[in-house]
């Protein structure tokens, strides 16, 4: 048997080390994937969300009654119970509930995207800077987040819609501006712990700019808790948005937004139960799915 000369391996890629390292193990990605897949609930949640996303993207083509999105009166089929033609029945003005629920998916996902988009874009960089620079900046930012904590998002949103007129967009932007604190706090705490890591010191000693250190060195290493928070907050965002619409401060009729649909059809409970129930169920399923995904991510990351 030949001696395996390790130093001879400079040119040839297959050195002794490489040979010994040859994965009898699954590749890193597949291993991580299989670990995530072990959590049945999280997988279920993810699948539901993916399905929802698909529906939201394809709805103009797959909705059975695309015209029912907006105003459309159909006195013949007012409040028709679920049937083969209208799987979820029709609402109080004869519109197909299924179609409207499908369109509602767009609204809900868009809501989540806007709120979180603003919250993350504001919160993460601010938290990063606060943690990285420390000193006065950190104090200011932390006081700001404390201040914003005192404001319940829903109340703020209501107040804004009173001022600016009811519009889901306004409300969502307002909520985004309140929710940035959660992400800022996570980013801040994580940055504090990571900034003493040797690889950060290395980057700085090499003359890397602060921007590089924060976003290319630290940020990738703090993304896990941020993702978890993102998933969990998405569910909450949908809930808040639909609640606003339900209260009349968000989407106005005839917008096929779930909360709005529940509100306008609730007068017809319990006989015309389908018109309120199905949108409500859609909200429920969506929020729970986001939560399951968030929990799953948290369990997954905590094992690392």
């Amino acid at each position: 048997m030949a001696i395996v000369e390790e130093t001879a391996g400079g040119v040839v890629s297959r050195t002794a080390e490489e040979a010994e390292m040859a994965p009898a193990r699954k590749s890193g990605f597949r291993r991580r994937l299989s670990r995530f897949l072990h959590n049945r609930l999280a997988v279920a949640g993810t699948l539901v969300l993916l399905f929802l996303l698909l529906v939201a993207m394809l709805v103009p083509w797959i909705a059975p009654y695309p015209d029912d999105v907006a105003d459309s009166l159909n006195f013949d089929a007012v409040l028709a119970p679920p049937s083969l033609q209208h799987l979820m029945g029709t609402d109080e003005v004869g519109r197909d509930v299924l179609t409207r629920v499908m369109f509602g998916a767009r609204w809900s996902l868009a809501m989540a995207a806007i709120v979180l988009g603003i919250a993350v874009t504001l919160g993460v960089p601010l938290g990063l800077c606060a943690g990285y620079y420390g000193g006065v900046l950190e104090q200011i930012l932390m006081r700001l987040t404390d201040g914003f904590s005192a404001v319940p998002a829903l109340v703020l949103a209501l107040a804004i819609t009173v001022l600016l007129g009811p519009s889901l967009l306004n409300a969502m932007v307002a909520i985004g501006f309140v929710w940035w604190r959660g992400f800022a706090r996570i980013a801040h705490g994580q940055t504090l712990s990571k900034k003493q890591e040797t690889y950060v010191v290395v980057a700085r000693s090499l003359g890397a700019s602060d921007l590089h250190v924060m976003f290319r060195e630290i940020l990738p290493n703090i993304s896990s808790p941020l993702f978890v928070s993102l998933a969990l907050n998405a569910g909450y965002a949908v809930l808040t948005g639909t609640a606003l619409s339900f209260l009349g401060a968000g989407a106005r009729p005839p917008t096929p937004e779930w909360g709005q649909m529940v509100a306008s059809s609730r007068n017809y409970l319990p006989q015309g139960w389908w018109a309120s129930l199905f949108p409500g169920l859609a909200i429920f399923v969506t929020v729970v799915s986001f939560n399951l995904l968030g929990d799953g991510l948290r369990d997954y990351f905590s094992e690392e």
């Binding site: 048997m1 002794a16 390292m21 009898a24 699954k26």
Partner: protein
Amino acid sequence: MAEPVVRLTSLRVDFHTADGVEQVIRDVTLRIDPGEIVGLVGESGCGKSVTAKLLLGILPMPPARLKNGTVEMFGRDLAMLGAVERDTLKKHVAYVPQDPSAVLNPSFTIASQMIDMIVWYESDRRLLEYFRRRHSKRHVARAHDFAAELLGKVQIADPDDVLRRYPVQLSGGMRQRVLLAMALSGRPKLMIADEPTTALDVTVQKRTIDLLKDLAQREHLAGLYITHDLGVAREICARTYVMYAGTTVENGPTAELLDRPLHPYTRGLVEAIPSLAGGLPHAIAGQVPDYLSPPPGCRFAPRCGEARDLCRAVPESVIREGRREVSCWLYERETVA
């Protein structure tokens, strides 16, 4: 001859992981006699910590599975004992870990933690009894005195002062000594030390080693001293086992083992340590085998300069010169002249 305190025979332990079965321990045979400190040396990943955990009974047995071999402690085969009996045996074993902060709770004084341990041992590890005694002034006072006595045994000059302190107020060497004192509180017969001096400065290490030697002698302790530092093994251990990739490949009186190594791995290990006379040390070519698919015969063969075809079969363990044992095809059983 009194029976050995520990005897491991032809141990084989597999780990069932998500990637497959890792054959972590292939063949470990080890003996510790009463009153002797035995060294277990090897590099990272060789399985020495797994062996220690097995002895301590803290190896998680679902992923790990004992495939072969026996573990005997104080003359009893552990596999034959029930859980209660095994627990009773464990009382006589003390564990000294590498990192004191893993054992010392930063929120409590040394006195509080030592008294906890002493009373726990006194109550025979029964919970109700422990609570009763822990709250009895008389017992606590007695335990306090015993704690001071133990601290004196580890050569701490002012035990009462140390007892009053919190772990964070003590230096690393001091903490390690407190740990040793705590290990003694159950009046153990066997001490298992896992790299206890690795994190210490060399001058502190020297004092700790001298202390350990002294303690073992005075308290008639047997010990298993796990380390990767051959020099420390030479200082402390009467006999040493060399472990590679889950197998004890060689053992013998430590000084002899290091001055005249028999197994090619031992030789490589010694030559890899820089000599104080100068010159670059020699590396051992190659890498530790993958436990998922280890080489069929001698696990060191792929890296061994003297490997032959014969090495595809697992070598037997052979006794040389009466006191030394080696598992290598280079050596044949000595025939009695």
